[in-house]
């Protein structure tokens, strides 16, 4: 439900609908009323789900999903060892120790990013409002639309670089210095988010979109997306591919685990991630179909020793559907 709030001092009127779209420039591209579409593998070269395990089949990837029933409360008690402790030894007293890469680090690098689904995942070079740069990850959901985290297009806070970013350069399937599908730079009205993030700073609405002027997604293919119930999610493998900053520059890495817990608007998982993977799809693989059910946004934090992302709920699904072009 949308409730109109009193006019602000500057005469602007805002609404309390967190799913309402925002953009640095009033969008001039009309939103279409597309219905849900299944994923598209694009041109030939897609990987099949041969084993039907729910995880991608990759050479050298052990894929060891946690047993069902490992819930967040258990993980809170476990305080598992992490990769940093294995590398640098125990943290000094009082120093935060948990990390987003949970020991052992069994992430696997994607060698050939030109095949589906890896070419769907895109390295994002983000130019912040102060001219500095950051990196994140996004994924195609249609020929023109790349989904990412809200904080990859709008930086909360008042510090340098906050507000709408100047631009985002999308590099599908980037593999180090190789750009197999080139790059597309978007800015202004091609950057989208929602009021729940840009105005309210609600992490449940930390979502964003990049509307590309070209139909590059027809070459890469895209992921489907869906809103699923708790039981379906808890029985699914969470797959994440992206561009972690602790690996060689702009290389794509993959990992999977069962979900640890689901909340009404958030997902929690032990899938290993690192800074630079914000905006990655959290997706399921079933019968050869890949559907995103979340968007990765956060690593561990005090009290939450697992990684987390925005759950694609009904309202989030509707927003993504409206963005799909």
């Amino acid at each position: 439900m949308t409730a109109t709030l009193p006019a602000a001092n500057n005469g602007a009127v805002t609404t309390s609908d967190p799913s309402a779209e925002t953009s640095p420039v009033s969008p001039t591209i009309p939103e279409s009323d597309l219905v849900q579409s299944p994923p598209s593998a694009g041109p030939v070269g897609a990987l099949a789900d041969l084993a039907g395990s729910g995880a991608e089949q990759l050479a050298g990837y052990s894929g060891t999903p946690a047993a069902p029933g490992t819930d967040l409360s258990e993980l809170l008690r476990m305080n598992p060892p992490d990769a940093a402790e294995a590398t640098w030894g125990p943290a000094p007293a009082g120093q935060p120790a948990l990390e987003s890469v949970i020991f052992p680090d069994d992430r696997v690098q994607i060698g050939d990013t030109t095949v589906y689904p890896w070419r769907v995942h895109s390295y994002l070079l983000i130019e912040l409002s102060n001219g500095s740069f950051a990196s994140g990850t996004g994924f195609f959901i249609g020929p023109h639309t790349v989904i990412t985290a809200g904080h990859c297009v709008f930086v909360r806070g008042t510090g340098p670089g906050s507000g709408w970013v100047r631009s985002v350069t999308v590099m599908p399937g980037r593999n180090g210095s190789s750009l197999p599908f080139g790059s597309v730079r978007v800015s202004g009205s091609s950057l989208r988010s929602v009021q729940g993030w840009t105005q309210n700073g609600d992490s449940n609405w930390d979502i964003g979109a990049l509307i590309l002027p070209t139909n590059l997604g027809d070459r890469t293919g895209w992921l489907g997306f869906g809103a699923y119930d708790d039981n379906t999610l808890m029985s699914s493998i969470a797959n994440i591919a992206g561009y972690p900053g602790d690996k060689p520059t702009a290389t794509q890495w993959y990992h999977s685990r069962r979900l640890s817990s689901v909340a009404a608007q958030r997902l929690f998982y032990e899938v290993d991630t690192f800074g630079g993977q914000s905006g990655s799809a959290v997706y399921r693989l079933l019968n050869g179909q890949r559907h995103a059910f979340g968007i990765h946004t956060n690593g561990v934090s005090p009290g939450v020793p697992v990684n987390s992302g925005v759950r694609i709920t009904g309202p989030v699904f509707d927003r993504l559907k409206a963005w799909k072009a």
């Binding site: 940093a84 640098w88 009082g94 120093q95 935060p96 120790a97 948990l98 990390e99 987003s100 983000i126 500095s132 740069f133 950051a134 990196s135 994140g136 985290a149 904080h151 990859c152 930086v155 909360r156 806070g157 510090g159 340098p160 670089g161 906050s162 992490s203 930390d206 900053g245 602790d246 690996k247 060689p248 520059t249 991630t273 690192f274 800074g275 630079g276 993977q277 914000s278 990765h296 946004t297 956060n298 690593g299 561990v300 934090s301 005090p302 939450v304 990684n307 987390s308």
Partner: protein, 86 residues
Amino acid sequence: MIRGIVRCGSTPVPFARIVVVTGPGPMPEIAILSGPDGSFTVGTPYPGRYLLAVHSDEHRPARIEVSLPEASSVTEAVADLEPLPS
């Protein structure tokens, strides 16, 4: 805010990836890139301790821990990287 520089000896290291590994509260999993002069800034929405990881393809990774008494505090940080053996 954490205002820092990444360097190797006296040489600035551009395009290093700076990530908040853990902070006092939930932090976005974005990677900040150092500028041509090795400089970077990290927003700090909460007071408390921040552990940063600094990665560069030609250097050993480094970690920096800083503590801010207030979210609005500004602190300086330096990441001194060692080159990887050739």
